[in-house]
Symmetry: C2
Subunit: 500 residues, 2 copies
């Protein structure tokens, strides 16, 4: 059977590709979590090489001939192979549009840009990072033209993370958030001292935070036999495969929240990756779905689970035990309010649930304008600070707390930020259905977090990339993604918390 030969050929080549991806991922992980500074000299060349090899495989004539043969015989394939073939074809169509040398140069550029960004942020010196950022933007501007788009150039990068979504839809989505949330935010701004989180900003031993981070990741269901937790400038997760999922967090000796909720957030991503179906883990479908789905899982754990009162009932005493000097006289209710304080502030990853989307809107607008060429990279510090003042009423004291705070642009992740807001909306929608099926509050009160993990595993995680994002949402909630549950949840929660 000719199609069987074609299938073997294609699967074999995709296996090669996964070996290149694995090497690149490990090299990135190493660079982010401890490689010596000068090691980048060779590492960046090696990354460029692997990225070029991947490009070669996908654009190879024989590979494409075999793939096309399979496309013409889709009915003969099982569901998994069918999806692999379709998705690979899509990737190729995108990749073929980018000239090989630009693709390779860009990969090398990114591996160099990230340590420079970290240095620039550390030294509070945007000018160090600027030349790299300019090149990345230039690449992205070329990229959207190569890739093509129907209405707005930014649509082309959005599609990389949330297939099919457009500026037109997002403008409506963010408009809805603005319209319904901003009045509430303004009301709360007037009562900003109604809740204090000072108790979280005392002296918290980093060593104890590390121990508690491991405890909480395990408590949520993260499996340390199949993963690890380290430290990096910007927390992230990396699912090499379901048997090797890595995440990082960061520690501040004068603030408990970044490590605590950073770990919980990344655990959400990582539990997803560890829960991928056994039938697909070694295939091209064996990772998390779109960014909007992935982020729904981290947000669900971070906010809907771990910022609820019920979650802390069984484990707050443990936290008090670890930090008696700060928490022994703090009631659960005071702690719950502190971790939900809303405040217009500077740092996205530390923003509360309510003001979070304004951070995203800021970045969404800036990215659109950069890609369009309406604004220039060198003006970003000024533009950033002006808009922070306009949207959130705060001005960053320096670029480390402003335009340099996120790793995303250094990693070439333009079009990625909107997924965070979409993820939050998806999380609320998923939780809404989960509450129909499970007694979530009782489960949390009784500390049976494995029930949540099982539910999400069964309804979302196990599918990996086997379904489209909208299909996943249909399976998990019976509806396509929308902003309704998110907005309702936020208004309900924060009206009660702030009694407004």
């Amino acid at each position: 059977m000719k199609y069987q030969e074609a299938l073997d050929y294609v699967i074999n080549k995709l296996e090669e590709l996964s070996n290149y991806d694995y090497a690149s991922s490990i090299i990135y992980w190493d660079l982010e979590t401890g490689a010596p500074k000068e090691g980048i000299r060779k590492a960046s060349k090696v990354l460029g090489f692997y990225s070029g090899e991947s490009h070669k495989i996908l654009t190879d004539h024989k590979f494409n001939k075999n793939l096309d043969l399979l496309l013409a015989n889709l009915d003969l394939l099982d569901a998994i192979h069918k999806k692999i073939v379709i998705e690979t074809k899509k990737d190729i169509e995108n990749i073929k549009k980018i000239p090989l040398h630009e693709y390779k140069e860009y990969s090398e550029l990114l591996s160099k840009a990230q340590p420079v960004w970290a240095e620039a942020r550390g030294k509070n010196d945007f000018s160090l990072f600027l030349p790299y950022l300019e090149k990345i933007i230039k690449y992205k501007q070329n990229y959207v033209n190569y890739k093509g788009y129907k209405e707005h150039p930014y649509d082309a990068v959005l599609d990389d993370y949330e297939p099919g979504i457009t500026v037109k839809q997002l403008d409506i989505f963010f408009e809805d958030l603005k319209e319904k949330l901003v009045p509430l935010i303004l009301k709360i701004n007037k009562k900003k001292d109604f809740i204090s989180d000072d108790l979280l900003k005392l002296d918290y031993s980093v060593e104890k935070q590390k121990d508690f981070s491991i405890f909480i990741a395990k408590y949520l269901g993260f499996d340390f036999e199949r993963g690890l937790l380290k430290e990096s400038a910007h927390p992230f997760s990396m699912g090499l495969n379901k048997y090797d999922v890595r995440m990082t967090t960061r520690y501040f000796s004068n603030d408990l929240q970044p490590s605590l909720f950073g770990t919980i957030h990344e655990s959400g991503h990582s539990i997803y990756e560890q829960n991928i179906g056994e039938d697909i883990w070694e295939t091209r479908l064996g990772g998390g779905n779109s960014m909007g789905i992935h982020e729904s899982q981290s947000r669900l754990y971070e906010n809907l689970v771990a910022r609820s009162l019920e979650f802390w009932i069984p484990i707050y005493p443990k936290l008090q035990e670890v930090f008696p000097e700060n928490l022994k006289d703090v009631t659960l209710d005071e702690f719950y309010k502190a971790i939900n304080k809303s405040q217009s502030d500077l740092i996205r990853v530390e923003a509360d649930e309510l003001t979070y989307s304004l951070h995203i809107i800021l970045r969404y607008e800036i990215e659109k304008e950069l890609i369009e060429g309406k604004i220039r990279a060198c003006d970003l510090p000024k533009i950033w600070n002006e808009r922070m003042e306009k949207y959130l009423g705060v001005t960053p004291p320096n670029d480390s707390h402003g335009v340099l705070q996120d790793v995303h642009w250094a990693a070439g992740l333009f079009g990625y930020f909107p997924s965070y807001a979409l993820g939050s909306a998806n999380a609320s929608q998923i939780m809404n259905t989960m509450r129909d099926k499970l007694d979530v509050d009782t489960i949390l009160k009784e500390g049976r977090l494995e029930k949540i993990k099982e539910y999400l595993g069964e309804n979302i995680h196990k599918y990996g990339k086997l379904k489209d994002p909208n299909e996943i949402m249909e399976i998990a909630t019976g509806e396509t993604p929308n902003s309704k549950y998110y907005v309702d949840y936020l208004i309900d929660k924060y009206s009660k918390l702030y009694e407004v």
Copy 2:
């Protein structure tokens, strides 16, 4: 010019090869220093793949045609390219003898064997490791037949680490050591309480040991911008390239020596790798030379430098400051004697300079007999313990302190152990010449360690693999390698220390 095209082709392919090697090295590093346990499932496949790709490049017809063209035109090449071509040809001749599938399976086997060995050692359970060891030995037995040898099958594996050396030569070398050192060891055994090292076996804070390890590595000249120090079950060094050299050590809270001299030993290896010439670092010649040369550098730093009295004169007060609870009343002379106590004991890496070679002789004999098929892997615990009793008068209480102590066999490193003894001999020979050129004692007393690093850089390190081991020894000492200086040094030092 046709040969120019051939050269470009070959260099380009070797660059590809170096990218595969880089990926494999990073994956090994990751597995050894923190990868999650289950990660091995994919990692071992990936390692097998890269090893197969390297094999493919080296055995490719076109590559070999071009290489042969260069071999026929060696006079047209500069010294660096000439050596690259010759060495690559040698590698290919060896590699061509191994069937591809055996080579790939073996690479996968090794990546699985190492974590199992670590587990077996941790649990003191040889039976866990036995099936892996049996397969590795089987491979080695096939390997020596594929590779071929003139006199003794073990010659074929010796040649992998010390090109050209034979069982015949080593039998003489080790006989000389035995004959001259054993009488001294017997005399010292009778005075075994003449020197006490109890002061090194007190409670030493691991955190402080870590800080001191970093201090001492820097003091010797290790550059942390181009390298790092981590922790692993068995200390090792990995020179990815001169800009990224990694090493590990290990810490015990009740013993200062393993971390201290482990770090110094690995610093010797790593300073070598960091000192490779700028003209060759990116080529196939850009790493350390044979194992006997490499080990001469680690031994030189560990023993001839760091176990001398002069070395500690400027920094012993610093060590006292870090551990006042243990050392404030210990004189420099007492400390010097303690770090040089000679005692027939169980663990090779913790053996003193004098008894060290007996540990090597034991392994050398066992390896010879395993390769010959004279003894079986399942009998190793028994054989090991019997010979330890015979050669050193001690019997391991368990296999963790016996046959399971070294990572080498799990890493497939048969034929490697003799290099340690050869390295020690080379170190003494090199130090002997260095003392003619430099006032080593004054340099050590004044803490000007950069002078030692510069001397070794200029006379040994910068050449990388550009010269053969014997040429390196000729350049550095004017003589071919021999046991004279090593034996003289040991007899002189230990006769004085023990007043025998």
